[in-house]
């Protein structure tokens, strides 16, 4: 008897779960109007991906405080929510999804730029194309576009390049002074420098081909594919076949493979080998600048000992870009006026300058003038961003792209580029189709 009842109850629980999960709807949240506090202020909630106590978090808080002071008379009050990415970017994303499910999405969120397509296509982001005038859009180095529509504005920008050890270069008799962001070196010139470094007796370059567990390798290496004329997906982001496995894309990967085969780079370069003078060049983003300035004084006493070179160009010039952005969400608040005011404030030239002063990143706006000395690493990064910055592929299945890119780089040394790219293309196309067919 007990067993019979237990079976009935178990079956009931499964059936209820099955039907229960399919009838999920977002929670209430107080209707379509924005929340208004006791003093009559319209509350605009904004969720940040950093900890409040961090330098970046404090910069956001200061800008929020300034907004609240400036919009006091207009009765708009910004309420920041800080959800630090303690479990990586995915942890923050889980928070977003939970909020979406519960109907408690903040009015504005910060998000990593490569997620634009996935978030926009899923309806998480609000289309702001008609709310931000064209002349304002033009003030940004990049925009969060999907299918020709605008879904977000960048908080700040990033760029990467080849940090090089001037002491080694001088000793090896290598002159790279002519290679600037305005006049980048070519892929052949890059190889020639690698050869000279190899002959001098050091590992030529740390291309970060070992950094395939996260977004590092895709972020740093995708410009090489664009440089050879390759691509990853069609302009609408829905087709990988014929792009990811095209001859031009293969050429880009073959170039990286050639660097491995010729002994210019390897998977075995230690994390600090460049910083301790064992490697000639190091591919990295602007975040390496403080390390070189402060952390490795024993090897790099001053900026006379290190410099930064741009990405080499092939049939075209391309460099890494992308950072986090702001977006208005498609939450239950139908009136986006107050959220738009806050978005404009947080992406203003003043905010852009304040936040990048705290983070050391490149301002997202062209009208924020940072007086970097021409030829300085910061100047090279900013100029390169302006002249050749290309965003990572815009596709609804970006996480799958990232995974497949890592797998190609990981297996590049011994695998056939053609086979690796065909496999990566199939995997990415399957993921795109799955999301697309789901509607």
């Amino acid at each position: 008897m007990k067993r019979f009842i237990a079976s009935i109850i178990s079956a009931l629980l499964v059936v209820i779960t099955l039907f229960g999960v399919t009838s999920c709807t977002g929670g209430g949240g107080g209707g379509g109007e924005p929340t208004v506090d006791a003093e009559g202020n319209t509350i605009v909630k904004i969720m940040f991906h950093v900890d409040k106590s961090s330098t970046e978090g404090q910069a956001y808080q200061k800008r929020i405080n300034a907004f609240n002071a400036a919009y006091k008379d207009q009765k708009i009050k910004a309420q920041p929510i800080f959800k630090a990415r303690s479990a990586g970017a995915s942890g923050y994303e889980t928070e977003l999804q939970n909020n979406q499910l519960e109907g408690t999405l903040a009015d504005i969120i910060t998000f990593d730029a490569p997620n634009t397509a996935a978030y926009a296509s899923s309806g998480l982001l609000y289309d702001i194309s008609d709310l931000i005038p064209k002349e304002d859009q033009d003030k940004f180095y990049s925009l969060n576009m999907y299918n020709g529509r605008l879904y977000g504005l960048p908080i700040q920008e990033s760029s990467a390049g080849f940090f090089y050890n001037k002491k080694i270069f001088r000793a090896a008799g290598i002159d790279v002074s002519g290679y600037t962001a305005e006049n980048p070196w070519t892929l052949d010139e890059f190889r020639a420098v690698c050869e000279s470094l190899k002959r001098y007796g050091v590992t030529a370059v740390d291309m970060r081909i070992d950094a395939t567990k996260d977004e590092t390798a895709p972020y740093l290496l995708y410009p090489f594919i664009y440089a050879t004329g390759g691509s990853f997906v069609s302009s609408d982001g829905l087709t990988a076949s014929g792009y990811y496995n095209s001859a031009a894309t293969a050429e880009g990967f073959e170039f990286i493979k050639g660097l491995i085969k010729d002994g210019y780079t390897s998977y075995a370069i230690g994390a600090t080998d460049f910083f301790t003078g064992k490697v000639g060049m190091y591919l990295s983003s602007g975040w390496t600048i403080p390390d070189l300035d402060n952390k490795y004084r024993e090897y790099f006493a001053s900026r006379d000992d290190w410099g930064l070179l741009p990405y080499p160009k092939g049939v075209e010039a391309a460099s890494a870009t992308g950072s986090w952005s702001y977006a208005i969400t498609n939450n239950h608040h139908t009136d986006k006026t107050a959220a738009l005011e806050l978005l404009k404030w947080m992406t203003s030239a003043e905010s852009s300058e304040a936040i990048t002063n705290a983070t050391g990143m490149i301002p997202a706006r062209k009208d924020v003038v940072k007086n970097y000395a021409p030829g300085s690493p910061e100047y090279t990064l900013m100029k390169q961003l302006e002249l050749s910055g290309r965003e990572r592929p815009v596709t609804i299945a970006y996480p799958t792209f990232s995974t497949t890119f890592n797998r190609v780089i990981y297996s590049l040394e011994n695998g056939s580029v053609k086979d690796l790219l065909n496999s990566a293309t199939n995997t990415l196309q399957d993921a795109i189709d799955k999301i697309k067919n789901r509607g």
Binding site: M1, K2, I5, I9, L12, L13, V14, I16, T17, L18, G20, V21, T22, S23, C24, T25, G26, G27, S90, T94, Q97, Q100, L101, E102, A118, Y119, S122, G123, L124, D210, T212, K213, D214, S266, Y267, A268, I269, G270, D273, A397, P399, T400, T403, N406, R407, Y410, S411, T427, A431, K434, I435, R438
Partner: protein, 323 residues
């Protein structure tokens, strides 16, 4: 989802209440007054634990079971449709095409086949080693158990440094002293999984050693004395006394190590990333459900894996059943 959870929870409580009422009614019918009181008390004391187990174990399992038959995409949590067996068809298609899921199954099988005997054998060996009276036995016990209390993430990181490619890796540096050239242990498909197996067995065997020690303490000493009087050597004593005495302990350890091995995730995730030669079923599920956001498909894999593990566990129990 909250509403569904509440409905399920209420239903579960009703079921629990039903069981209690049924039990009480049976007791009353038998006029066992004392039993009625003690049963009620027992159930009330059980209730908090059962409620927590329901919320944090049973409910997620039920949801996962439900999601296996849906097209749940993490970015569209409000639009979930029942797709019946479509996810399972996709799974079998991917296996037949020898895709990443095929690799995950192959690698998980390799890991299980490698780690289960190694870890159990090592644990038994260590247990027998430290079970002998001696000054150092307690120190050895602590030493062998120490890796168990260290976080898997930390041990994975430490072993990554030991197995680092080039001359910077500890293992390569040591081998270099005897003229062996450096090897990229974790990138080479031939050596990556064996390295993960060794690390996992080293990390986990201390726990099983303690269970074996507990089992060894239950074997009567006079059995060994009797065996000695009969002229039994070390092997005869081990096989006819120790092994027989440890039978139920071995079954328990075999089942728990097998289940744990099937669920391996942390080591490949931290040491190699999502790569063909080290991806495992749990890692595939994590990547599919969490990174790529296909919760429906990921749940379907989880369901199949649960059925497989449950089936094998039942077979193990039957094979080792006391005759």
């Amino acid at each position: 989802m909250t509403k569904t959870s509440i409905i399920i929870f209420v239903l579960f409580l009703c079921a629990f209440g039903g069981f209690v009422a049924y039990d009480l009614a049976t007791a009353k019918r038998r006029k066992e007054v004392y039993r009625v009181k003690s049963t009620a008390t027992a159930y009330l004391m059980l209730l908090p634990a059962i409620a927590l187990a329901f919320l944090f174990i049973l409910l997620p399992i039920l949801y996962s079971l439900g999601y296996a038959f849906t097209d749940y995409y993490l970015l569209k949590p409000n639009e979930i449709n029942i797709v019946f067996f479509k996810n399972f068809v996709q799974i079998f298609e991917e296996i037949s095409e020898k895709g990443m899921l095929y690799n995950a199954i192959k690698n998980t099988a390799t890991f299980v086949i490698g780690v289960v005997p190694l870890q159990i054998g090592l644990a038994l060996f260590l247990a027998l080693f430290v079970n002998r009276p001696g000054i150092g036995s307690k120190i050895f016990k602590v030493c062998f158990f120490a890796p168990v209390v260290i976080s898997l993430s930390i041990t994975a990181f430490l072993w990554e440094q030991i197995l680092a490619p080039g001359e910077g890796g500890l293992l390569n540096a040591m081998l270099g002293m005897v003229g062996v050239p450096p090897h990229d242990w974790l990138r080479d498909p031939k050596t990556a999984m064996p390295c993960i197996i060794i690390l996992s067995a080293w990390q986990g065997c201390g726990y099983q050693m303690l269970i074996f020690l507990s089992g060894l303490s239950n074997i009567r000493k006079d059995l060994y004395e009797a065996a000695s009087l009969d002229g039994a050597n070390w092997w005869h004593k081990f096989w006819n006394v120790t092994w027989v005495g440890l039978r139920s302990t071995i079954v328990y350890i075999l089942i728990t190590v097998f289940i744990g091995a099937c669920r391996i995730l942390t080591q490949p995730m931290l040491m190699t990333g999502y790569m063909d030669h080290t991806v495992t079923l749990s890692y595939y599920m994590y990547n599919s459900g969490y990174t790529e956001r296909f919760v429906g498909e990921s749940s379907a894999v989880a369901l199949l894996m649960t059925i497989f593990i449950g089936g094998v566990t039942l077979i193990q129990r039957r094979l080792f059943r006391e005759k």
